[in-house]
């Protein structure tokens, strides 16, 4: 199998060139109890109640109609148990984005997220994949073990998108996926116009997401 072959671009013939459709594979990584599935479930459920998978809760698709393009997310949930860590690399083959989810009430889960990040770094070049660090369960603020700043700081040093969410109270769930979508589109445009490497742009996005996080904390 060839990884580069995964065609993510299917030009929409009716509006060719103007309104392309992109298919992006997003993997969810994180410990068992951090709420990966709930996050995806909440994201998909909010917009399209009818397209909800009836039995499974581990593979979702979500279509976003943006101004510049149509994006179809394929969200792959992964098994978070530690014993499956060694086989996880099979999941993120050919992924375009990864969400590293941790539980803000459990410090250990952030450490595991860091482990996954090193795995991803081994597999991908920095501009091949968009990685977002997501601190979930802000509804349990009373039991918080990981300060927002800690996650934020870590994300900044590694050049990741960052956001704190709550799948339960639907806090910033849409936003994080939207941020990923924007980042992916940005990179797509850069690739198309062959501009400077995406590092710089990534920083811009980082800035935006930080601002948003800030707002919400207030």
């Amino acid at each position: 199998m060839r990884l580069g072959m995964a065609q993510k671009v299917i030009p929409n013939t009716s509006l060719e060139g103007i309104h392309p459709t992109y298919i992006y594979k997003v993997v969810l990584l994180g410990n068992t109890s951090v709420g990966k599935s709930s996050l995806a479930y909440r994201y998909v459920k909010n917009d399209f109640k009818e397209s909800l998978p009836t039995v499974g809760c581990s593979f979702f698709t979500q279509t976003l109609n943006l101004e510049v393009a149509t994006i179809r997310f394929e969200i792959w949930d992964t098994a978070g148990q530690e014993k499956y860590h060694s086989v996880c690399h099979l999941y993120y083959r050919g992924a375009h984005a990864a969400l590293l989810v941790y539980d803000i009430t459990n410090k250990e889960t952030l450490n595991r997220a860091k482990l996954w990040l090193t795995d991803l770094e081994k597999e991908f070049l920095p501009d091949e994949i968009v990685i977002a660090l997501v601190g979930n369960k802000t509804d349990l603020a009373a039991e918080r073990e990981v300060a927002t700043e800690e996650g934020e700081e870590f994300a900044r040093t590694k050049g990741l998108l960052f956001m704190e969410t709550s799948a339960k109270s639907n806090h910033q769930v849409n936003d994080i996926f939207m941020a990923v979508a924007q980042e992916l589109l940005q990179r797509e445009q850069e690739k198309a116009s062959n501009l400077s490497p995406s590092r710089g742009k990534s920083a811009v996005d980082l800035g935006q997401s930080r601002v948003r996080t800030g707002c919400c904390r207030l």
């Binding site: 199998m1 990884l3 072959m5 013939t13 068992t32 581990s58 060694s86 086989v87 083959r93």
Partner: protein, 753 residues
Amino acid sequence: MNIKKQHCHGCRPSRPADESQRDGGSYGAEQRQALPLLPQQFPEVVPLNVGGMYFTTRLSTLRRYEDTMLAAMFSGRHYIPTDAEGRYFIDRDGTYFGDILNFLRSGDLPPRERVRSVYKEAQYYSIGPLLDNLEDVQPLKGEKVRQAFLGLMPYYKDHLERIIEIAKLRAMQRKARFAKLKVCVFKEEMPITPYECPHFNSLRFERSESETKLFEHHCEVDVSFGPWEAVADVYDLLHCIVTDLSDRGITVDHQCIGVCDKHLINHYYCKRPIYEFKITWWLQREEEEAYASSQSTQGAQSLTFSKFEEKKTNEKTRKVTTVKKFFTASSRTGAKKVAQEKIVKQGQLGRERNADNILRDLKEIFTPSWELASPTEEIQEAKAPSPSINRQASIETDRVSKEFIEFLKTYHKPGQDIYKQCKLFLDTMNHKRDLSIEEQSECAQDFYQNVAEKLQTRWKAPPEKVEKAMDQIEKYIMTRQYKYVFCPETTDDEKKDLAVQKRIRALHWVTPQMLCVPVNEEIPEVSDMVVKAITDIIEMDSKRVPRDKLACITKCSKHIFNAIKITKNEPASADDFLPTLIYIVLKGNPPRLQSNIQYITRFCNPSRLMTGEDGYYFTNLCCAVAFIEKLDAQSLNLSQEDFDRFMTGQASPKKQESDSFSPDVCLGVKQMYKNLDLLSQLNERQERIVNEAKKLEKDLIDWTDGVTKEVQDIVEKYPLEIEPKNQALAAIDSENVENDKLPPPLQPQVYAG
């Protein structure tokens, strides 16, 4: 070997034509005189006529070994007739007599390819030393070894007869040229359930009598070989069958058509491999040639290396690898030999067909592609590589081709183009068989990409239509390519398959609890789903198109999700799904797992594999297999010692106490415990009812007693006094004083009139 060969050439029996002139006159007169003498006197040099072939040898040569027929014949005790020329006549085919003479002369043995025939002749002339010598060289020595193996098969010979008999009857019944039989060949008894393990050092399983009965079945085949305890494997036996049949002049082709899917118990299936034997009773010209060449290749087993070299240069490069393999010792030689034969057949046919191909190509230039694409041509094409190709497969190929053409017709002009492209691709692939499988995969992927791009850009097809077309193209191409690229000999896929299979079998003791599988098989619906999932994953192997295989995985996954959902009452997440899938794979032990994964990875349309639901489930299956391969004590929450003991079969995990059954306990036992529970409950209830009834009875008795007593009390209190009746009436009247004032009662009077 070479020396012997030269000898052999030297001693070739000469034809009467060249010998008669030289020998004819000289001996003639002399011998006629010797005729009436008894006991017969023989000259020092004896002229012989063996069935019309002339030989000359010394008398001492013929008498070399006592107790042989020749020594006895020429001892002088017997009369031997002479022919017109005065040569001593032996009424037997003389083809191999020269070899006999050579042995008597110098002890030389015939070349390998003549050994069998000479052996027969030596038996006729009862030349013991030659027989002994021949038995000690190839191929007879090998034959002895082979017979030692076949001796393990109690009814081997009978089975062969049976195969021939059935094939004859079937062909006659149908007035057909060939007949097909299903033959099951299995080396060992497989464990029926993953929880069974064989007795140490044997193929038998610990099974209770009732279980044995339950698992014992006869696959629905005509003949069944096995099991046997030997190193030789299924391929070796198949080779034996084919050689023995063709020794009898029977043209036979065989092909594995799958495994026996006979349902045994719960979700356990028989899974013994089934081969289809096609026996052709009379051959068409093409086949006759192929058969002749295959016969000569069988002879080639005994050919010298130089002859092989000749053959090798005759054939195309790709065959070189096979020839090489032919010489490397391997347990799979049987299979390879068969493959070798096939290839040689193709080679021989190749030249024949070349002319046909040119003709066809010419035709292609002048006729529109649609006409060429008629089904008959398709069949022809499907048959081309080997006339004896599996019929069932070719029927399917044919059907797929027809469907494909029908489908393309809806695409009009691009459809024709697509068809041409596919044809071109298949042709190229045919020329690229000698490339590594990775390179072939690369070609296929390139092809998919090119066609998809063309569909999008040149023919402006909408995405859904592209996807549909790509599916059809994949189906068409891969049905044809399957037999070449699935588990190809150039890879170690088969070895990996066996390794995984063995590994899964070794892990038979793993329970759902160890894997933390969130599925409760005690719920009937759940166990139903589990069975369905296992069936789906096993079914994957029977599909030929990668996408159909993917569909099986997806179906299996859906059933797993259902099982989890019913158990947990909420949709399953990936954390639940992967362990359950692993459990299903462990329980099902699907056949040729690695081959299937590799095949899908190499030849599936990549856009399906990297994205979409199918791709997701496929990735999960890959994870499951990778996990099973790496599985260790830690991942099952066991101590290393326990894990080792379970793996080596020294112990098996303790069954849990009766209050919480592990799901591997026999369903019957579980049902029994349930019934016992129910019975004890009923018993309790019955007792309660009896008690109540007794109480009620007592109450009733008490009540009657009470009533009686009360009545008596009342009776006692108010005793009944009965007064005389008249007195009472008089009293009534006496009280009525007005009575006296009444007129007297009317008297009846009689009137005359």
